[in-house]
């Protein structure tokens, strides 16, 4: 523990592990001076005494104080544990590193053998080796140490081969550093951290194995004693004095927990980078945060009458806990209204809140997101109240979603057919044959050939573009009135993008559903949408008609987005303009 950084020790696990390790060390060193006499003192009159103030764990059949013996046994238990751990770590390092530098075929032989040995539980290997080296403290230490070699060798090999594939090691090889030089100078320093964590974990398992082996009578032999040996003696007297068995057992459990905590504290240390990054990200978000009492950023013309709106959200605010008790608001009072059959684009850069707005509109944001609205309706359903079963069903039928990454938006464990027949079966009450026909028709309508065969396949048998079209088809299996497509083409290449867009448009024409199309690509959005909502920093900064976006856009952010688009007349000798990171302040007169 002495080599760890201060910051690692400050975590609760680190503090507990450090204190525990110090206590174990002190007891190991000084116990024989303090309790040595009591541990060896036999007394016929005090035989098999129950626990008392003088002897908390009672006495054994020779009248010796069991508590004193547990304390004195700490030294032997610790030394044997550390000895066996050292054998495992050194053996694992040697075997693992040798495997790393071997040529291909011998290397595969060695790693194959390690894998075969790894298939067997550690205890089985320990028992095997302890047959060879006999029932003694030294034999048990060798047996436990060698039984731990395969798992550490595998770890070292995996770590070392991942490091030796990196560029800086290749560079070292190119300049002529030999295999052992590379191991010593480049590989070892990079695998030391994980190896340390696993050494502490190995020590914990080793300690428990030793206790087990001594308990079986295959480890430390009388008159010497470790915790396992004391446990073996204690359990024979468990009806006379339960503490004589529980005492050594407690010592084993506590020491094991100290090693486990040490391992966890060391592992937490390597996760610090993550926490620091998160704090930075939170700070940057708060820095961009605006005064929220400004009211709705853009007054909208649409009325509340549900006849000409399919979905409406007003005063939408989305916040997340910042991990320190407060919250960070990411969407600051957005108003959005969608008319039936309308195609609305939401554009903005990453982090502008466009996806959060869409997810909130669909009512799909869950804890830890905190959503606030002054009004939130979808086709006459009040989305801000608790929804009835019937309203849930209507939402399932009328509201469809398409997500950015088609590789993760379909369930990999279910067939495409299972996923496409679900809405008709659950919400439309169709039998399995009818819903299958419906799913097949939906797949056909998004131009997927052989829909019947395709329905029986799993998503991993579909290409990316096909999966995205299958997602659209999933919406078409019901009666969609609104389709929310969250960057549906970002993860696809250009030709596939075009297919997906045309399928979306066809679907819109065929069903009359409204579409909310989210993208960072203002050119794409203005090409397919009726109306464009521009978002920046969690607010709507401008709403313009898509047809006249180049002429009518007034907000500097929108103009900046448009200016980034190259066209046939762009000067190719000049770099495209970029949008600065400074806040683009909202002019008071910006009105649609």
């Amino acid at each position: 523990m002495a080599t760890t950084k201060h910051s690692r020790l400050r975590s609760p696990a680190g503090i507990a592990a450090t204190l525990g390790a110090i206590a174990l060390l002190l007891i190991s060193v000084f116990a024989s001076f303090i309790w040595g006499d009591a541990a060896g003192q036999t007394s016929v009159t005090d035989r098999l005494a129950p626990s008392s103030w003088d002897a908390p764990f009672g006495t054994d059949q020779l009248g010796r104080d069991v508590f004193a013996r547990v304390m004195v046994a700490t030294q032997l238990s610790m030394m044997l544990t550390l000895g066996a751990t050292a054998i495992s770590v050194v053996g694992g390092l040697i075997l693992g590193l040798i495997a790393t530098v071997l040529p291909r075929h011998p290397r595969r032989l060695v790693t194959g053998l390690i894998d075969i040995l790894l298939a067997f539980p550690w205890l089985l290997l320990v028992l095997f080796f302890s047959v060879i080296w006999g029932a003694s403290a030294m034999g048990a230490m060798l047996a436990i140490g060698f039984a731990g070699v395969p798992s550490l060798a595998r770890l070292v090999y995996n770590l070392a081969s991942s490091v030796s594939g990196r560029d800086f090691v290749r560079a070292a090889r190119v300049v002529g550093v030999g295999p052992f030089g590379i191991l010593a100078r480049h590989v070892m320093p990079n695998i030391a951290g994980p190896l340390l964590v696993n050494t502490a974990a190995t020590a914990s398992v080793t300690l428990l194995s030793f206790a087990g082996l001594s308990f079986l009578g295959l480890g430390v032999q009388a008159p010497e004693y470790d915790w396992g040996r004391l446990l073996q003696e204690g359990i024979l007297r468990i009806y006379v004095n339960p503490m004589s068995a529980i005492g050594p057992g407690l010592a084993i459990v506590i020491a094991g927990l100290i090693f486990t905590l040490a391992s966890e504290a060391l592992a937490i240390g390597s996760g610090e980078g993550v926490r620091a990054t998160r704090a930075l990200a939170a700070a940057s978000v708060t820095g961009r945060r605006r005064a929220v009492d400004r009211g709705p950023a853009v007054p909208l013309q649409q009325t509340d009458a549900s006849s000409d709106t399919i979905a409406e959200v007003r005063g939408l605010r989305v916040a997340f806990p910042d991990g320190e008790g407060g919250t960070v608001e990411r969407v600051h009072g957005v108003d959005l209204t969608i008319a039936p059959g309308e195609v609305v684009g939401i554009v903005g850069e990453s982090g502008s809140g466009k996806s959060l707005t869409a997810m909130a509109l669909a009512g799909l944001l869950e804890s830890p997101a905190e959503v606030q609205v002054t009004r939130h309706h979808f086709d006459g359903i009040d989305m801000s109240s608790t929804l009835s079963r019937e309203e849930q069903s209507r939402l399932g039928v009328e509201l469809a979603m398409v997500f950015q990454d088609p590789l993760t938006s379909l369930n990999p464990a279910l067939t495409v057919g299972r996923q496409l027949t679900e809405v008709p079966e659950v919400h439309l009450g169709m039998n399995s044959r009818d819903s299958r026909e419906r799913a097949s028709a939906a797949l056909a309508s998004v131009h997927i050939p052989e829909p019947g065969r395709r329905l029986r396949q799993y998503p991993h048998e579909f290409s990316g573009g096909m999966r995205q079209r299958a997602m659209i088809a999933m919406g078409l299996t019901a009666r969609p009135r609104l389709l929310i497509a969250d960057e549906p083409t970002t993860a696809l290449d250009v030709t596939v993008q075009r297919q997906v867009i045309s399928v979306l448009k066809e679907a819109q024409r065929a069903t009359g559903a409204a579409i909310v199309f989210i993208s960072h690509d203002i050119a794409l959005v203005s090409a397919i949408c009726d109306r464009v909502v521009v978002m920046n920093g969690g607010e709507v900064v401008e709403v313009v008609s898509a047809e006249r976006i180049r002429e009518e856009a007034t907000h500097p952010y929108t103009r900046a987005l448009i200016a980034c688009l190259p066209d046939m007349t762009s000067d190719r000798s000049v770099p495209l303009p970029t949008i600065g990171t400074t806040n683009i302040t909202l002019p008071e007169e910006v009105v649609q």
Partner: protein, 337 residues
């Protein structure tokens, strides 16, 4: 080929280029898997055969003790075949294995196979019962924790349960067994502290064996489930407004099966070895107590036989788990893409 989730299984990564060019992924996986099984069986048989030769000094003298007459030692060596050339011994050993003959115990002079056949059922029952309890407990606990604490809800309850699981994982079965005896047998007098054959005498050993693996598996299930609940396809399922029953059981559960089964297999083979200690605590006449007695009395033919049986059980469990995995999850045979 493109590949979706990150659930690759590193154990499958070997031998990826040799076969599979012309064969279907599943056939080539099966061939590779059987090849590994054959290699493992060879290693196990060799290790078991050489065990007696690896013992320093004269194993027969060690087994019979310093007071045994030289004639007895020589006779025992001859009956074990140790006076023959080593190759001849190995051929005889293999021949014996194929006919189910594992040799004769030095101590009891009974066939090793017969003793193993008598002791095996208790160990099997103990391990299988403990495994069933571990699975039956781990699934509801892990799923319940993941679902109830999703998105940072019920932080306190989650932390308390996680610590409890952590402590249970850290305590080995034989120490739990000692604690159970002290509590339920000595203090409360509810259940017997030793013995085998009745349901009551089986409760404590099974619980002592099962709780640690159950806690470990529950944690795996919880972590896997939290990962699955955060995926986009679960958002897709929620967007369909399916009843929670379908969201969790149809959409989430199949995605944790691979990891759960893989860990479950490791647990079952680990349980097989852990029975040795728990059998000793409760004085259960199983393979474990037989093994410990044989090691203590240096009854090498018996040790060879028992080690071989344990190792073959472990290999069998691993094979069955892998076969189940490729049957229910076709992607586990085609991890490399």
């Amino acid at each position: 080929m493109s590949h979706d989730t990150g659930r690759t299984r590193s154990a499958r990564a070997e031998g990826r280029f040799s076969l599979g060019e012309r064969l279907s992924p599943r056939t080539s996986f099966l061939l590779r898997r059987l090849g590994r099984l054959a290699a493992s069986v060879c290693v196990v048989v060799l290790a078991s055969f050489f065990l007696i030769h690896l013992v320093p000094g004269d194993p027969v003298r060690a087994a019979l003790g310093p007071s045994a007459s030289p004639e007895l030692v020589a006779a025992t060596q001859a009956s074990l075949g140790l006076d023959k050339p080593i190759l001849q011994q190995f051929v005889d050993y293999l021949g014996g294995l194929l006919t189910g003959d594992l040799g004769t115990s030095i101590q009891s002079h009974r066939p090793v196979a017969q003793t193993i056949a008598e002791r095996f059922p208790a160990t099997l029952l103990l391990a299988v019962a403990a495994f069933a309890v571990a699975i039956a407990g781990a699934l509801p606990i892990g799923l319940g924790m993941a679902i109830s604490s999703r998105g940072g809800r019920r932080r306190g309850l989650d932390a308390a349960l996680s610590s409890l699981l952590g402590v249970l994982i850290a305590i080995p079965g034989f120490l739990l067994a000692v604690g159970f005896i002290a509590l339920f047998s000595v203090q409360l007098g509810l259940l017997p502290a030793a013995g085998w054959g009745t349901i009551r005498s089986g409760i404590l050993p099974v619980l002592a064996l099962a709780l640690g693996p159950m806690a470990y598996l529950a944690r795996i299930v919880q972590v896997e489930m939290i990962t699955v609940l955060g995926t986009t396809y679960m958002t897709t399922a929620r967007a369909k407004r399916l009843p929670s029953r379908l969201v969790y059981f149809r959409h989430a559960l199949p995605n944790i099966v691979t990891a759960t089964l893989t860990v479950g297999g490791l647990i079952l083979s680990g349980l097989t070895a852990a029975t040795v200690l728990v059998e000793t605590v409760f004085a259960i006449p199983g393979l474990g107590t037989t093994m410990v007695a044989a090691v203590s009395t240096k009854d090498y033919p018996m040790v060879q036989g028992v080690v071989l049986v344990y190792a073959l059980i472990v290999l069998g469990v691993n094979l069955v788990v892998d076969l189940i995995l490729i049957t229910i999850d076709p992607r586990s045979s085609i991890t490399e893409g």
